[in-house]
């Protein structure tokens, strides 16, 4: 006794003395922390699975040149009658001016993890008698794969785009009657054409994409589409996809380009994820409140039970501040113990359920990742929570009238 100082010594002794009470409240904190831990792991797993499926072959954000619009020659004047017919003009293939600068600027924007310059447009794929309308995408494959994961979409062949190589959707290959290693011709509307070798066949997840997509190297696409040295869009991957809108707003302001995010193209999925996040946040908040109330109520009872002892300690010289700290410490100790045990229990639950719960594709819904940083956060938050929960009981203890406490 003594090495820990008065407050620690008494706090630990009081907790040890309260056996059942202490065990119950640490148990409560443990279960609470485990629930939060488990829900978080499941949520992260389920959402990343969903997002992977939805956004699998799309970039998070696309920068395009602004659409061409028609402005009337005579501006509207208030009160003056005006007769005008404004016809929308057909959209040409437009390109981004000064794209290398814009690309660097985009890549340096906070939140952006990777970008790829893309030249895309429509063209025809011809093999023998078969002709199909395709979406031609020219890009630097290595960069592009940091924006859109193609490696888990490769059905056959390799992911390589040397000059003259092409990666095609699985349906398109079937439509053209082409197999890996076959050659086919890509021709633009103005007749420019080039022959490509099929290096890889991709399963992009949806029929529409599988039927139309052809990836070639950037230079080849530029020459076929008649836009040498230029690109039509910059594809962007962001770190936190739920923040894609914020990052897009920033890009819009600094680039003046037309910006499209995965959120705009997948409104419903985004709404579902947002709702899910709000629900789990609510669950976490309520579990936290329940745990805090549990700690507080046990300590309130403990202060009542220990009235006499608190009175004695005050009589033999313990200050109010010391008594306050004795009970604050008990709250913090319970919080930390609950956090450590709860993290352990949470990890156990995740490891068990990651084997049981599987997604539609048969892969585990979530995986067990041991995140030491998360545990540190949980422990610190729980300690603070325990402290806060202990404020009221500790104040009661500190303001107990020692004369009355001893007499009672």
């Amino acid at each position: 006794m003594g090495a820990l100082g008065f407050e620690w010594t008494v706090a630990l002794r009081f907790l040890r003395e309260g056996r059942m009470q202490t065990a119950l409240i640490i148990g409560g904190a443990t279960v609470g922390v485990a629930v939060i831990f488990f829900i978080t792991a499941v949520l992260v797993g389920v959402q990343s699975d969903l997002i992977r499926r939805v956004t699998g072959s799309q970039p998070h954000i696309i920068l395009k040149p602004p659409e061409e619009t028609v402005s009337p020659l005579i501006a509207a004047t208030p009160g003056a009658p005006r007769v005008a017919s404004v016809q929308a003009r057909p959209q040409r293939l437009t390109t981004i001016d000064g794209w290398p600068v814009l690309a660097r600027q985009t890549e340096a924007t906070p939140g952006v993890v990777a970008i790829a310059a893309v030249a895309s447009g429509s063209a025809l794929a011809i093999k023998g008698d078969a002709t199909r309308s395709i979406a031609l995408l020219g890009t630097d494959l290595e960069r592009y794969m940091r924006v859109v994961r193609l490696d888990d979409k490769l059905a056959q062949g390799v992911l390589r785009l040397e000059p003259g190589d092409a990666l095609v959707g699985i349906e398109l290959a079937r439509d053209l009657g082409a197999a890996l290693g076959d050659r086919f011709r890509v021709q633009s509307a103005d007749g420019t054409s080039q022959v490509f070798l099929i290096r890889g066949i991709l399963d992009l997840g949806t029929r529409e994409l599988n039927r139309r997509y052809v990836y070639v190297d950037l230079r080849a696409a530029q020459s076929i589409l008649g836009i040498p040295g230029r690109i039509t869009n910059i594809d962007v991957a962001v770190g936190d996809i739920m923040r894609a809108d914020h990052i897009a707003a920033r890009l819009r302001a600094q680039s003046g380009q037309f910006i499209e995010t995965w959120i705009q193209t997948n409104q419903q999925v985004f709404a579902a994820i947002t709702n899910q996040n709000i629900m789990t946040l609510l669950i976490r908040v309520f579990v936290t409140i329940v745990v805090a109330l549990g700690i507080a109520s046990v300590l309130v009872v403990s202060v009542v039970q220990k009235r006499k002892e608190i009175g004695i300690l005050r009589a033999i010289g313990a200050t109010r501040a010391q008594m306050l700290r004795v009970f604050l410490l008990q709250g913090a100790i319970v919080g930390v113990a609950g956090a450590l045990l709860g993290s352990g229990l949470g990890l156990l639950l995740v490891s068990i359920f990651s084997r049981i719960l599987r997604s539609a594709s048969g892969t585990p819904l979530f995986t067990l990742t041991f995140d030491a940083g998360l545990i540190v956060i949980v422990v610190v938050v729980s300690a603070v929570l325990g402290l806060i929960a202990a404020v009221l009981p500790a104040r009661n203890a500190a303001h107990l009238d020692p004369a009355q406490a001893i007499r009672g």
């Binding site: 006794m1 003594g2 008065f6 010594t9 006499k308 300690l313 010289g317 200050t319 007499r407």
Partner: protein
């Protein structure tokens, strides 16, 4: 310092205590007490139930505020100190022994005795002072006849033994005055006699002053001075020649 050293331990001037002050049910329980206690005195405080003995003891112990008058402890006016200052004064100058021994059940005998030192932060781990406090606590436990009970919890001790631990605790910081509220009120005659003898022994050997509230005229007769409180007033204050040989 000289003045402080010469000053009596306790000096009360016209100390009053009113409970529920300012309320319709206000009740004055002490009406102008004048009292001086010198260092090394062995005093009994007697009086019928409800005469204000416990209230007076609580005021002397800085556990309650006086409603009026002046209280000097060791020459220093402590009448209107704040709670922290009163706690420090209590800690450094006073010892307490209560009727129902009041040990902390979570601590064994020697730890209970060391608690006041722990509160003062004098048990800095392996430091010299820590050792000193432990040695002093052990010495006191031996002196009260509990050589074999250092490691025992209060629940494992008889009432008399628990009160011996409480006596040792009250003395561990070598206070100038020990306030004892019916220290033997809960014990059989034999235990009661031996506890009383212990107090007397420490009084003689270490010069510690004792103020002992008691109902027992037999015990009061063994003190050097007897103060009688009746209805919140000092009705008698006389020196006494102890009859029993302690």
């Amino acid at each position: 310092m000289l003045q402080a050293a010469a000053a009596p331990i306790v000096a009360l001037e016209q100390v009053r205590k009113t409970y529920n002050e300012g309320l319709p049910n206000a009740e004055e329980v002490l009406h102008g007490i004048d009292l001086v206690v010198q260092g090394g005195e062995f005093t009994a405080l007697i009086g019928p139930s409800g005469s204000g003995k416990s209230t007076l003891l609580n005021i002397l112990g800085l556990l309650e505020h006086a409603s009026g008058g002046v209280f000097r402890l060791g020459g220093r006016d402590v009448t209107s100190l704040d709670d922290d200052a009163r706690t420090r004064a209590r800690h450094t100058m006073l010892g307490f022994i209560f009727q129902f021994h009041h040990l902390l059940p979570a601590f064994n005998s020697i730890e209970n005795v060391m608690l006041p030192a722990l509160i003062g932060g004098r048990l800095g781990g392996s430091g010299n002072e820590g050792e000193t406090a432990r040695a002093r606590a052990a010495g006191l436990l031996d002196a009260v006849g509990l050589q074999d009970a250092h490691g025992k919890k209060p629940q494992e001790l008889s009432g008399g033994m628990q009160q011996r631990v409480a006596v040792a605790r009250s003395l561990v910081l070598a206070p100038q005055l020990v306030l004892a509220d019916e220290p033997t009120g809960n014990l059989d005659t034999h235990s009661s006699d031996s506890i009383f003898a212990l107090l007397r022994q420490f009084n003689r050997e270490q010069g510690t002053a004792f103020l002992i509230v008691t109902h027992d005229p037999r015990l009061a007769a063994r003190c050097d001075r007897i103060i009688e409180l009746v209805d919140g007033r000092i009705a008698g204050d006389r020196p006494n020649q102890p009859q029993a040989a302690d």
